[in-house]
Symmetry: C2
Subunit: 399 residues, 2 copies
Amino acid sequence: MDLDSERQARIQDAMREAGLDALLCAAPSHVLLLTGYWPVMAASVALVARSGEVHVIAPEDERTLVEAVSGATLTTYLPGRLEEMVDPVQALAKPLLSLLDRLQLSRASLGLELGYGVQPASYLTQVHFRASLADVLRDRQPAARIHSCDALVERLKAVKTPRELDLIRQACTDAAAGFAAAEAAVHPGARENEVAAAALAGFERTLPSPLAGVPASERRDGHFFCMSGPNSATASAAFARTRTREIAPDDLVMIHANTAGNGYWTDITRTFTARATPSAPPPARHRQMRQAISEATAAALAAIRPGARSVDVDLAARKVMQGHGFGEKEFVHGVGHGVGFAAANANALPRIHPASPDILEAGMTFNVEPAAYFPDFGGMRHCDVVAVTPTGADVLTNF
Amino acid sequence: MDLDSERQARIQDAMREAGLDALLCAAPSHVLLLTGYWPVMAASVALVARSGEVHVIAPEDERTLVEAVSGATLTTYLPGRLEEMVDPVQALAKPLLSLLDRLQLSRASLGLELGYGVQPASYLTQVHFRASLADVLRDRQPAARIHSCDALVERLKAVKTPRELDLIRQACTDAAAGFAAAEAAVHPGARENEVAAAALAGFERTLPSPLAGVPASERRDGHFFCMSGPNSATASAAFARTRTREIAPDDLVMIHANTAGNGYWTDITRTFTARATPSAPPPARHRQMRQAISEATAAALAAIRPGARSVDVDLAARKVMQGHGFGEKEFVHGVGHGVGFAAANANALPRIHPASPDILEAGMTFNVEPAAYFPDFGGMRHCDVVAVTPTGADVLTNF
């Protein structure tokens, strides 16, 4: 596929503004941002130069995956052979240094990932370069000036291009099958691990239904969690966790998922009541929580538009929750955070949080996740992924 | 649970030999090595001092998980609050600096992770500290001497203690349910993604059966892949990949898994024939491959003992494969690599590879994975996890 010209234009603008001659990134979501390719083993680097050249250096066994999705110029290296054991930094250094040489970047201002970052896992095991790429450059290209590109890349990831929006919408659509399977599996007597397994199986077994004009997600990844009864009250943590608890009648049962298509991530939660019989009404307390969360979601959506302050979106939902009696002890986290290049990262831009300085822009995607948690009783959360449109908000998780 | 005294003794020996006053690690498998706790969000640090003190600093919402498995002294930090948004490096820096101060390590020789590493994913999204922790220390504790602990930690991870061996054996035992479910799902007409989903569901749905004296794996993680027909020939890559291909009669169907219990990983492969009828014999070519791989596994196992050279174990299996006509074009990778703290990492010690300098020691755990791959036809691999005993080899994947 050709490169995303809108994305490349934005990268050039950001480099010009920052005075950088090139961006050099290895974190999978940053290689995705720069080239459209999401590395598997996190052993690839992407380089975008002010000249407009876009390169990716990847292990040879990722070649066909790169070529399927990215218009970047590809150089591969052999990750391991019978003749020798390969250190990935050494293996990358050679083509990287010769690329910098060829592009006349040996004395350039280079933007690298130097500080901490939060990354979705691209595979069950990954290379972590830590400081090694910067060390190679300092050692072998001492005339190059190395700067942090961390803040620049975080800002670039926050605002999606039309093509990226399509791919995130596709990932959200693909997640629906998992939630349908989860809902069908929620009943008293089922265990959390059984429900989570059913949800994931529903997701994995369902072939993607490509939206018009969007390529199917060749590489899909799904993480589904089930937290029931008191366990659902622990879902306010930074991470979700499925246990083996048996679901009891009238339990709150929270299904949380982070799924991905070709490296673009979702962050979705639905909460069900485990009814003793299909016709039994949910307990009054559940209905009250659901009503509050539904109204809070609507209030947040109504506040979303380009130029709006994130704090005002947070406050719009928070006031509704407070009006229903769910204050800072029950609704303990922000209303949302950036999603797309990130999954489950409260620091991804924009942060929809009472202390956030972020201003919304068209093309931003984030989750809206009002919730109420009661220790020993349970928690309810409804988490949608939304995009900021020129005039308001578009809910990408329409199920 | 109390700390693993054998592990702590080995850490002290290694620090003494390297002249380090303390080890300070953040990579999840290294925190596991030092403390017995496998961090979820990779936002924790472990510190072991020459005084024998063992500390972990973790986000508050991981407190109960730490306390359930580790005897390390725990300090927590708040990962995020409504009052402020938290940078994990800043959040960690405060308790870390005061701990170094209290342990009189402000001018000490500290071992940190500075170079590249390969890490199994502890959660679907993780903090990557990159160079930030070393930068904080250089900035705030300028009298401390910072050294790389990378090689030391890799060597420590290679040789497991009796307790760690039990936990890896438990993880291997738990994986059996997934393979049983996969085998039952393999038949012509099934799709790879359906078989992989069935395998994972079988694994997730089955409650762990704790071995005598071993605590059940509270935190389990499973990744199952299905590669059929020509796709199975691509399994020689550094990563496995499930597609949506429909399995045909007499296809080779390779099931690869990396599973974990409490952070201890497995690396297991089985290959089946998709028989048109249950009584149909597998094709002669499959039988020939299976026979070669079975004999190669036996030859490798017979060569394993403390003091044996890794190259000789590799050669023992490789010669058998060559004798059956499967040379360097078909059996393209080493016989194995370290497993346990690592999953699917060809550079984990010991490397059972033609170019490996590694010598086997009792307590090492690695995989034995002879294989033959034929592009356009398929691949067969049988991958077991084995432990080096005082007298030979113990297969931990007895199914």
